[in-house]
Subunit: 437 residues, 2 copies
């Protein structure tokens, strides 16, 4: 607590996009308030951007702008990295850490690929690395996993951690529209990028799953360890069938400890309407945690957007500034457990599989045979819900056949679906959605 030195704590900001701009605003507009909370003044000493002329925010003084991120980082106590991507972000962060600065980042792609090296570099140098904004935007989920639950045993984490896909699925559910229309709507409203691939194919959620799995299980998990299924094959007919069963379809990042090891995955899943995650609408995110002693926990809020994400970034900056004012340190990220990674088909699951078929005599028999040949037991078959004109491959002739399995091996299931898809009477893309209880 002894602190004679009252010089301002120097903060460098790398990147002034949507989040960077709002981060600068909070740091500048609330500087007196933040100084009171820290017990020492804090000063934004520079903002590094590629093109200073593009920055027009009234709260960013022109004189703070620079194109030399490395030089700026070298004269700061805390470096905030909001440029995104792997390089040059990784080099900037490592250089800042080596020079003794603590770092705050929202860069999920970087952490999911090189997190352990960064965590280890920070621990070695005796500086901190904070990244609350990298998962779930404004929602405190990193700090609960690093600190609040550190006395407990995390069993599983299930998160709606991508706002774009949740918005699309929620629009399809509430408005009965198809995937393409919902995606265009999301793009028009700014909830989806012009190139939405990383979101709709689940790669963004996979990065967050890797980060959460490492924190939950103290084991080195990277994005390449996370199998991914996206939502592009989900139709209005799938949503209608789910609704008829009082279920909703959500894209989930699921991290869990099983008998076969730990697993981190991203897949669309059917959830009962009564599940707390089922009520997460629009672009909101939520993370549901099961722990041995704490039991069920849920964290809910805005998973993206400039101001919400900046709230998490500045929370980290102030936390770190307090450490600096107290000559103190935050927790290191211990990766000691080396738990095995469960093979893809280690756990059995139930699946809802939807085919589009031409309804000729013998079709159902042929399809059922592909399942029974592989010893996959069928729980229910349903042809009541019709495809709609919102769905790709729609024609009045095509029927929707939905098969819900009992627990089965995933690899075998995918093999059966592939075999069925090759039958003459089957058309279009099948969808495979996991059924959770």
């Amino acid at each position: 607590m002894s602190e004679n030195n009252n010089r301002p704590i120097r903060v460098a900001l790398l990147g002034a996009g949507t989040v960077g701009s709002q981060t600068a605003r909070l740091l500048v507009e609330q500087s007196d308030e933040l100084a009171s909370r820290i017990g020492r003044p804090m000063e934004l000493v520079g903002v590094a951007v590629l093109d200073p002329s593009s920055v027009t925010d009234p709260w960013i003084e022109r004189s703070l702008l620079t194109t030399d991120a490395a030089e700026l980082a070298s004269r700061a106590d805390i470096v905030i990295e909001l440029i995104g991507g792997i390089e040059p972000a990784r080099t900037f962060l490592l250089t800042a850490i080596e020079s003794g600065a603590s770092v705050v980042t929202a860069n999920k792609a970087l952490l999911a690929k090189h997190g352990p090296e960064l965590y280890e570099a920070a621990a070695r140098q005796g500086v901190d690395i904070y990244f609350e904004a990298a998962v779930g935007g404004a929602i405190p989920i990193v700090r609960p996993l690093r600190e609040s639950l550190v006395g407990d045993k995390v069993l599983s984490v299930m998160g709606i951690v991508n706002g774009t896909t949740n918005y699309i699925l929620d629009e399809m559910t509430t408005k009965g529209i198809g995937f393409d229309e919902a995606l265009r709507d999301a793009q028009a409203k700014g909830f989806a990028e012009a190139d939405p691939t990383a979101d709709i194919e689940g790669h963004d959620a996979a990065a967050k799953a890797a980060i959460m799995a490492l924190l939950a299980f103290h084991t080195d998990v990277r994005i390449d360890d996370v199998p991914v299924e996206g939502i592009a094959h989900i139709t209005a007919g799938d949503i209608a069938a789910a609704s008829a069963e009082h279920k909703v379809i959500k894209l989930l990042a699921v991290v869990e400890q099983t008998d076969a090891g730990i697993s981190a995955r991203v897949y669309p899943a059917l959830l009962d309407e009564t599940h707390p995650l089922a009520t997460v609408h629009g672009s909101f995110n939520a993370v549901f945690v099961k722990a041995e002693a704490a039991d069920d926990l849920m964290f809910y809020g805005r998973g993206a957007g400039g101001a919400p994400t900046a709230s998490a970034v500045v929370g980290d900056v102030v936390t770190e500034a307090r450490h600096i004012a107290q000559h103190s340190l935050g927790p290191v990220i211990p990766i000691y457990a080396n738990l095995p990674k469960a093979p893809l088909n280690a756990s059995k699951a139930a699946f809802a599989v939807r085919f589009l078929i031409h309804d000729r005599p013998g079709v159902l028999t042929a399809i059922a045979k592909e399942f029974s040949d592989r010893e996959i037991s069928i729980n229910g078959v349903n042809q009541d819900i019709k495809p709609t004109q919102h769905d790709p491959g729609y024609s009045g002739e095509v029927q929707q056949l939905r098969i819900v399995t009992h627990l089965c091996d995933e690899i075998t299931l995918r093999d059966a679906v592939k075999a069925v898809s090759q039958l003459d009477a089957v058309t279009g893309d099948a969808s495979i959605i996991r059924v959770l209880n």
Copy 2:
């Protein structure tokens, strides 16, 4: 990070009730795992109880038991206080702090009454005080307010922070039973104490409101600053009327910043069924936070119970043990803002007021006159919902009259309700429930 000394960090536990017992279990059963997370072993050096012969938990070694809490506390690095109440808990904590130990407590009553003295003593001595379990049990809400949101401006916090009252209201809602029956059911199932006063009159929630208000607004707020309304007057008829409007009744701890100052209150409120807090069932707790940049956040989980509360306690213990291993410190609790406290009637609100009446000619006119005389504008009057045999004062003769006001001054509203209650045709207790949007 330099740490030559690898002697175990000594932890003393004061109290071995439901939470204390589970805390000891987690510390003992997970000791290897926790040592890995801390980077140094941690040892439970003693458990202080009034009657050692009453402790039969297999994970608590007999030799650790003592009746001398003060002596035990004097030989620990971290003292966990789980005995509850004001004294001797306060003296034990202050003595531990003075002797240089950091402390972890779940004692909401003590913190709501003497928190600022304890926070200041800890800051002065350069030790930490953690109390995640004091609000919301297993739910991380203290740490988010102290750290995650420290870069943001909290506008309001609305919490379902008492499991007993939420269980009672939820049973009344889902089963259509009356208050008395729901309370007996809660007692039978262990969700309510034999003497349920502190819960149903809202005092438990008020203590939590005071703690949250201090953290959110950096201002000295104590339990005596928190006006309280309980739920004992709420009838099955009130619940039925709410359901007919697609609303639910919840007992809320509400902490907010208004133009007139800050306020912390506990009251029953009508919430739309679509509000995230409306879906919090049974004895679960949830806290809904609005912040300037983060926007809406919600935290949900088990607000009570031995193991869930112990999860939060041990999370704090491990966090503090990491600080000790790093010669480091957690954040102090800055109380710098001295914001004014809003007077009771500073903000106008809408209310649903329910009277039990003998339906004679002129009754409605007489009642309406008491409102109009005080310039309280009425938004709706409803006599459709009948009282039920579940409700006190029920007889076939008695009707339920429900008046929903426009925004009005609360003191004037209470005056009108008092005047109406004295009319001849009015019987039983009225209920006054705030209408939130």
